[in-house]
Amino acid sequence: MTKTSKIIIGVIIAVIIIGGIWYGLSRKPSGEKKEIIKIGAILPLTGKQAYIGQNMREGIDLAIEEINNQGGLDNKLIEVVYEDSQGDPKLAISGFNKLRDVGSVNLFITTLSHVTLALAPLAEEAKTPMFTIAVSPSILDAGEYTFVNNFNGEQELGFLVDFIISNFEFQKLAIIAQNVEFGIQYKDVLERKWREQDRIVTTIELFDSSATDYRSQLTKIKNSNPDFIYVVGYSSHITRILVQAKESGIEERIFSYWGAREKELLANAGEAAEGLIFPFSTFSRETAFQFFEKFEAKYNKEPHYRTGLAFDIIGIFRESLEKCNVDPSNTVCVKDKIYTVNNYPGVTGLTLVTQEGGTTKEIIILEVKNGEFVRYQE
């Protein structure tokens, strides 16, 4: 290739790229229609946690559709713009900035602890309220504009410990946790809470996100003779651990966290899932009948808890916007109103926003019985 042709190719590539970005940036709707309220959702739509983003997306879409079908909020329609974070903070920040610039977006939804922690300073600086469903307690300190619509580890595990103490005569606990942010947080909180009760933690085992073989960890657990085992990690890991625990002849009762409620877990772990106990929200067909009906009509499957959480986020935004004359650019007002949300009748239960920007919801205990998730009964 001659030098000139090289330069020509280089220029063409540069023009295409810069033109592409410029075109994208300039697609800002001319004249700035006032009738549209934009919400930005920065979710893991691809990659390992894509199922989380997908669950949330369905809930957001349903909520928006419902509001827009009723004529919108004060005649303003809501539009959601999605950005794929792929679980990578760098890409999430690119998405956030793009949404701010191109879409003049003032309200945000995201998830995953490390992505939320990376976005929180941006939301703070831009003074734009941002909701996440990630459960890591450190998010509560991340800033005034960052909110969590989910119960956090402290509440969930406090409830579980009380439940175990009042229903079982267990003394010795063994923990197996995924070596990622929320796994470590849950492990630490549970260990502290159990020891506070003057009870014993026999062993704590960790596994990497890429792990598929947990036998040696389970061997160590079995050898430490616990009364019960607590498992925390992605649901695919919990599934394999249940299977391998059964294959290794572990008969102790296994407990887990809310993320265990996945249909795939029942399908793939089969009998090994029997007797699994974990805390969960009251979210169910009985408590949110209308939501289930509408969701199933649209998507032809059962909604996930995360779907409900995302659905409720839109509801909380709606309620707060209505108290601010439906003006999304008045973000300080919207933020202040979110803090006043009390007993919001969401599909995931009555929701109260706390002073730290977290939420409290009612918690119940589920058990796997005959291949189904049912409410625990003594």
Binding site: K6, G20, L25
Partner: protein, 290 residues
């Protein structure tokens, strides 16, 4: 003037330029195929973040990041000095796995998977680079200085010796040069700049955890170095700009995200493969990888 989105992309370009030209110094100019470059980036990011969180000023954390990464460069160089070709590539790759495992498991220091949130934005002489435009200028200045220093090194007699080591190590040795020392310095300097790139990243994103330093992060940097052309600094800079911006228009095309997500990796991998087959010297490279 510029939109925040575009500024963000330019900051990333700046960080990648520093990472890529420093890798170019090792791979292109000295002939050391170092697949562990991300490890130095990681060391720099953690050093800088931990010092800044402990209350040290930015300039101190920033320089320490470079120096700490350089020490790791020396450390890696001592045992790998005798290795060549694919053994060197594997050893450096293994090194980056070890560093990743340490970052993940030494929770007392790095907080492991919890990561380090709240890393302060840089401040120099009372001025805080809190807004992105000022950060871009900082990145640009540091990138420019790095470029000039590396350019200077290459043009110096020392740089000529580096290329001699790459082209024929034995002959260089016969001429009385201590190739062991030379390669150690080269890897150390390369690591220094990777370290400061890590520092910039940490202070820009303000949150780091081990997942930012996995094997996958190596692919764009390696692709830049090879596409830009071995032993070509200018080519590397241009390739950094093109490759960081290349996947961005995907955000505006209406493809479903299930396609756009993997497309980013596919673009990098496919480009790398095609360039290796059809233009192994890259676009303005001077030498072939041996």
């Amino acid at each position: 003037m510029f939109s925040a989105y575009f500024i963000h992309l330019l900051i990333l370009v700046g960080i990648y330029v520093i990472l890529a030209i420093s890798l170019q110094l090792a791979v292109g100019f000295t002939g050391l195929l170092n697949l562990g470059h991300i490890a130095f980036y990681c060391v720099g990011a953690y050093t800088s973040a931990l010092l800044a969180l402990a209350g040290f000023p930015f300039w101190f954390a920033f320089l320490s990041a470079g120096i700490m990464a350089m020490l790791f460069g020396f450390l890696l160089s001592i045992p790998t000095n005798k290795l060549k070709g694919d053994y060197l590539a594997l050893a450096t790759l293994g090194f980056s796995f070890v560093i990743y495992a340490v970052a993940l498991n030494w929770t007392g220091l790095t907080r492991g998977p919890l990561g380090l949130p709240g890393i302060p934005r840089p401040s120099l002489a009372g001025f805080v680079f809190s807004n992105n435009f000022s950060f871009l200028i900082l990145t640009f200045v540091i990138g420019l200085i790095s470029y000039l220093i590396i350019k200077r090194i290459i043009a110096s007699p020392f740089g000529k010796v580096l290329e001699a080591v790459r082209d024929d190590e034995l002959a260089t040795k016969v001429l009385g040069k201590n190739t062991f020392k030379i390669k150690t310095y080269a890897l150390g300097i390369s690591a220094f700049f990777a370290g400061i790139a890590g520092s910039l990243y940490a202070h820009y994103i303000t949150f780091i955890d081990p997942s930012s330093f996995t094997l996958l992060q190596l692919i764009p940097v390696l692709t830049i170095v090879i596409i830009g052309g071995l032993a070509s600094l200018k080519g590397t800079v241009i390739a950094s700009i093109i490759l960081v911006l290349l996947p961005e228009p995907l955000r505006f095309i209406g493809f479903p995200s299930s396609i756009v997500g993997p497309a980013r990796q596919i673009i990098y991998a496919l480009l790398l493969l095609l360039i290796l087959i059809y233009k192994p010297k890259g676009f303005s490279g001077k030498v072939k990888l041996e």
